[in-house]
Every structure is written in structure tokens, then in C-alpha cells.
């Protein structure tokens, strides 16, 4: 199965969506003031942009969290004496793919909680009792009694501490978030980030067709969640996407000799260099000067792609550490060299070869890659 080049993105938020479920049943309504006060305090503590919904036990129609403080009494009246059954709400939530924390605040046993034992919803639920236990003698979910809003917030705030993106044949080529770094371990490519404020990333990658890379999110609590990367589109480089810069005619002469492995006359020292010389050391600069002075104007360091079109030569900066060479090969830049990795479909591994990318390697018709 061939590798294809895809653009995708990962959108994640530090705190999960919160679902409040408030108990106004006969066993809880005497404690409504405590329930409402705890809920209001908690809503005030949550980040402003945090998504959430608020339900009343036994009623599957949610309201916006932001409405709660304004309309507390009205909601209480409307939902008074509903029965302590969770199924109508959990049936609705089980159709959603979001990840959320569920807080059920109330008093007295929820009769049908056992029907949801071992469900992912109950695993995400915190029972908060203001008087009597919500699960009676059973032990089906985490439960705390008489907590403060701050205690609940601490339970809720379970930040992501690490993201690791991988997949079958996965090899990232470009990515937008500098907090991520590439690791190749035992032939598998992992794009990882930790302790970031924002884990959002746009990325371009190779992947086995029909597969999508997955992000493994690790939360501070130790919980791990797998989230697929959204595959957005197959990458097809179009002529109009290229931002090409012309070489001077003198530089073009150098390029045309170098690609045929012939020595060339240096613009800086006027001496002859070997075809694969990239920096002239006969200058005042300790590190040497690039043999193409035009490159200096763009502070280029890394891959440069040269395009030969209609006898003219252009270049383009490629400011990434990985370059696709052919369908199953990438060059991974390490300083001023780039090691070639080949994908073995049989072993599903990226294998480091003993070769580095030669200067002026032809990556497709009329396109040559060099590491500066």
C-alpha cells in the first residue's frame, strides 16, 4: 500500500467539556440551595471559553451553562420533583463523540445508575452528594460528599501533559507548532509535545493510504485518550503555490555545472571549486559564504529546492527538517546533512539508511534538493 501525502490538523482543548446534571427530585429538592450555590460557584471558576451543558436529572433537554445564574428559580420550578433516573440524559450523551466530565450534584439514590455500570459515561462521572449518597450501597462511580467548588474544580482540571502523534507509515513533513518534535524510535515516527499551553497543530505527513494518524493524549490524571487526526486533503503541489526566486546568471552557471558534477568558478574567490562545494571558505567569514550569494538575502539554513524551468533556475527556501524524496523515502536534516529514511511496508518501519542526501539530488523532474 503506497504512502500518500496528506494535510491534517489536531484540535484539542486543555479542559474537557463539562456536563452538569442537577437533582431536583423529591429526595434532593430540600437541598436545592446548596446544589444551586455549589453549581454557581463552580461555573464562576471555570474558564470563560469552556463549553458545557446543564441538565436536570430525569430531563434530557439541556440548557446553556451561562443561563443558569439568571434563571435558577425558573429552572428549579420547571424541573421540581422529577424522578431520580439518569437514563434519558445518558442515552442522549452516549450519542455524542465529545469527551466530557459529568458532574451529578444532588442527594438520594439514582435508581438506574447500575444500568450504566462500566460504561464510558459513568467512568467520566463524578457524583457529588450534598446529603445522601447518589449510588446508595453500590460503588459504581467516583463520589464525593459536601465538597467545596474548589475541590470539584481540582478534580475537573485535568490538563493534557503530553500529545504523541503516530500511525501506520506516518512520517510528518511539516508542522505548524514548534512545540512538537519528531522522534523516530524503532522505525516508527512520533511527533510529540508536552507541557504546552496550546496543542493545536496543522501538519503535512506521509501515511499509508486508508489510514489516519492518531494522537494519544495523556492527561495529568494518567487517563489516556486516542484522538484521530482530521485528514483534510491530499497534498498536490501546484505551480501557483510556489514562491520561486531567480538565481543570477552567474549563479545559474554554477548550478548548471554542479548538477552535472563539474567544477565551477566561484563568485567569491574566483577560484575553481568541486561541484559539491556549497560554502566558499576563502572569505572573511569563519563559516564561509554560500556559493549562491542570493541565498544570503533570505537567511536560509536547511533545505533549498532548485527549480530548472525554461533554461532559467529558481530557488525556494524549504524551512522544515524533513523532505520527501520519493514515495517511500524522506531526508531527515541533522545540521548540514540529511539522512535518508526508507519506509518498509512489510515491517511497517522507517529504516535509517547509511546514505545522506547528495547535493543536487533530483527529487522530481526539474527539481533538485540541497542542504545548506
Amino acid at each position: 500500500m503506497a504512502l500518500i501525502q496528506i494535510k491534517g490538523k489536531l484540535e484539542i482543548k486543555g479542559i474537557k467539556k463539562v456536563i452538569f446534571i442537577l437533582d431536583t427530585s423529591e429526595s434532593a429538592y430540600s437541598y436545592w440551595n446548596e446544589i444551586a450555590s455549589l453549581t454557581s460557584q463552580l461555573i464562576a471558576l471555570l474558564p470563560k471559553d469552556m463549553e458545557g451543558e446543564l441538565y436536570f436529572l430525569g430531563n434530557s433537554n439541556p440548557i446553556e451553562i451561562s443561563q443558569f445564574d439568571k434563571l435558577t428559580s425558573q429552572f428549579f420550578e420547571e424541573n421540581l420533583n422529577r424522578i431520580s433516573l439518569i437514563t434519558p440524559i445518558f442515552e442522549k450523551l452516549s450519542q455524542k463523540e465529545d469527551i466530557f466530565n459529568i458532574l451529578i450534584i444532588g442527594s438520594g439514590k439514582i435508581f438506574d445508575l447500575e444500568d450504566w455500570a462500566d460504561s464510558h459515561l459513568l467512568k467520566q462521572t463524578l457524583l457529588i452528594s450534598v446529603k445522601d449518597s447518589l449510588q446508595g450501597e453500590l460503588s459504581l462511580a467516583d463520589e464525593i460528599s459536601y465538597p467545596t467548588a474548589q475541590q470539584i474544580y481540582t478534580y475537573l482540571y485535568d490538563p493534557i501533559i503530553e500529545v504523541e502523534i503516530s500511525g501506520k507509515g506516518f512520517m510528518p513533513l511539516k508542522w505548524s507548532n514548534g512545540g512538537y518534535s519528531l522522534n523516530i524510535i524503532e522505525g516508527k515516527a512520533y511527533l510529540t509535545a508536552s507541557k504546552l499551553d496550546n496543542y493545536f497543530i496543522n501538519l503535512e505527513y506521509l501515511i499509508t493510504s486508508d489510514f489516519s494518524p492518531q494522537a494519544k493524549l495523556t492527561y495529568a490524571s494518567g487517563q489516556k485518550i486516542i484522538k484521530p487526526i482530521q485528514n483534510l486533503e491530499i497534498v498536490e503541489m501546484k505551480e501557483e503555490d510556489l514562491n520561486l526566486i531567480s538565481l543570477t546568471s552567474e549563479e545559474e552557471e554554477i548550478f548548471k555545472k554542479a548538477i552535472f558534477k563539474k567544477p565551477f568558478l566561484c563568485i567569491h574567490c574566483k577560484k575553481t571549486h568541486e561541484w559539491n562545494t556549497l560554502y566558499c571558505l576563502n572569505t572573511s567569514s569563519i563559516l564561509g559564504e554560500p556559493i549562491y550569494p542570493s541565498l544570503n538575502n533570505y537567511k536560509i539554513s536547511g533545505f533549498v529546492l532548485f527549480y530548472q524551468k525554461d533554461e532559467k533556475v529558481y530557488f525556494q527556501d524549504y524551512p522544515f527538517n524533513l523532505l520527501k524524496i520519493d514515495e517511500n523515502t524522506v531526508a531527515f536534516r541533522e545540521g548540514r546533512r540529511a539522512v535518508l529514511y526508507k519506509y518498509s511496508e512489510k515491517e511497517d518501519m522507517w529504516i535509517a539508511t547509511s546514505h545522506t542526501l547528495d547535493p543536487y539530488s533530483k527529487i522530481k523532474e526539474g527539481v533538485y534538493a540541497v542542504v545548506f
Binding site: S27, G58, I83, L85, K109, F111, D115, A117
Partner: protein, 212 residues
């Protein structure tokens, strides 16, 4: 065999020209009514569960399966449920119940008929209950007890189930023979009927099913 489904997603089928519910009403069905109707509150339901504790449809066993059914209701309370169900549902009268039972006892249970039902049923609780019940009855009847083929009275629990409320001469009586382990008795459903001694007595072995 044609299957129909009530508003709770549980199945009904035709017997002698009557659509009858496959099983007595379960707690999960009754709870849909409690949620939507707001007729009864927590303390009322907690009292009811005290006389026949709730058992989850996901985990009921051969020993405690009666706990998945709603029992202990008074006829006046059942009428609220019937009204909520609508669509012509009602309790059977004694004669109708016995006729249905008599018919079902004679018909061997063909597994493919139930498989056809399981394919059609959308309600997760209904599907789970029928699957578990079939597995339990297969073991109990075929291998452990009678060494006979299952019939439709077995799977519908019209025997070895509950005493079921039916109408009789303007009043309500019970008919059916629970398993002795649930309620010891020697009742013969085609001959005996069960009359509660007191009108407002909640009896833990009294359930009901509806017809239309």
C-alpha cells in the same frame, strides 16, 4: 411472524387475533413512563423497589430475573401507565389471558423466529433481556429441568414468571404461576385465579402485561 413495537421499544406479537406484549412490563419500560409523566416521585418509587428490588437488565441472572419486572403496582396505578402508553393498550381479561396462554403453550419455540425479532428490535434493554432470557431458559428447561423443547409460554414467562393483573367481572384479579423460588405456589393458570385479600395491598409477585 410479524413483530410490533410499543413506545418503549419492546415487542408485541399476534396470538389469536390479539396483539400481546412478549414480556411482562419491565422496570426500564416503566421508568420511561415515570420520566415523561411526572406522576410519581422518588419516595413512591423507592417504596415500590423495596418490595421487589431493582435488578439491572444488563446483569440479571437466572436466580434474580423477576427483579427486572415492575411489580407491586395497584390496578389504579397501572391505569396511569396504560393511559401513557395510549394506542389502544389495555389489560387482558381473564378469558383472553388464558386463551393466549393456552395457544402459546402448544407452539414450540423456533429459534429463528426469535433471531428475526432480535434483528428487528431497536431497544437495547429489550434486546439484552430477550437474549439473556433465552439463554437462561434454554439451560433451565432443556438441560436441567424438563428436558423438553421450549415453547412460547416459556419465553413469554406466562408461566414461571409473575402473577399478572387481568380484568374479571369489573374487578381485577391475578393469573399465572411464578417460579416457586420467587413465590411458592401450586397455582394452575388455566384453572386458578389469584385475588389479593386487601384491595390496596402491594404484592411483590404481581406484575402485568398489556394487549391491544
Amino acid at each position: 411472524m410479524q413483530w410490533f413495537f410499543d413506545k418503549t421499544g419492546f415487542p408485541l406479537f399476534y396470538v389469536s387475533g390479539i396483539q400481546v406484549q412478549l414480556l411482562p412490563i419491565t422496570k426500564v419500560q416503566f421508568e420511561k413512563f415515570l420520566v415523561e409523566s411526572k406522576e410519581f416521585g422518588d419516595s413512591w418509587y423507592a417504596n415500590l423497589l423495596n418490595i421487589n428490588p431493582r435488578v439491572s437488565y444488563k446483569t440479571f441472572t437466572s436466580e434474580n430475573r423477576e427483579g427486572i419486572f415492575i411489580t407491586g403496582l395497584l390496578p389504579s396505578e397501572i391505569n396511569f401507565f396504560i393511559k401513557w402508553m395510549g394506542n389502544g393498550f389495555r389489560l387482558a381479561n381473564l378469558r383472553e389471558w388464558r386463551k393466549i396462554y393456552h395457544e402459546l403453550k402448544k407452539i414450540p419455540l423456533k429459534r429463528e423466529r426469535l433471531e428475526n425479532l432480535l434483528f428487528q428490535v431497536k431497544s437495547k434493554p429489550a434486546k439484552t433481556i430477550i437474549e439473556r432470557l433465552l439463554e437462561q431458559l434454554n439451560y433451565e428447561i432443556l438441560y436441567r429441568e424438563a428436558r423438553r423443547e421450549l415453547n412460547w409460554a416459556d419465553i413469554t414467562l406466562m408461566h414461571y414468571g409473575l402473577v399478572e393483573w387481568v380484568k374479571e367481572e369489573g374487578s381485577y384479579v391475578g393469573v399465572g404461576a411464578p417460579r416457586p423460588s420467587f413465590y411458592p405456589n401450586l397455582w394452575e393458570p388455566l384453572k386458578d385465579m389469584v385475588k389479593p385479600l386487601k384491595e390496596n395491598e402491594r404484592l411483590f409477585y404481581f406484575g402485568f402485561r398489556l394487549i391491544r
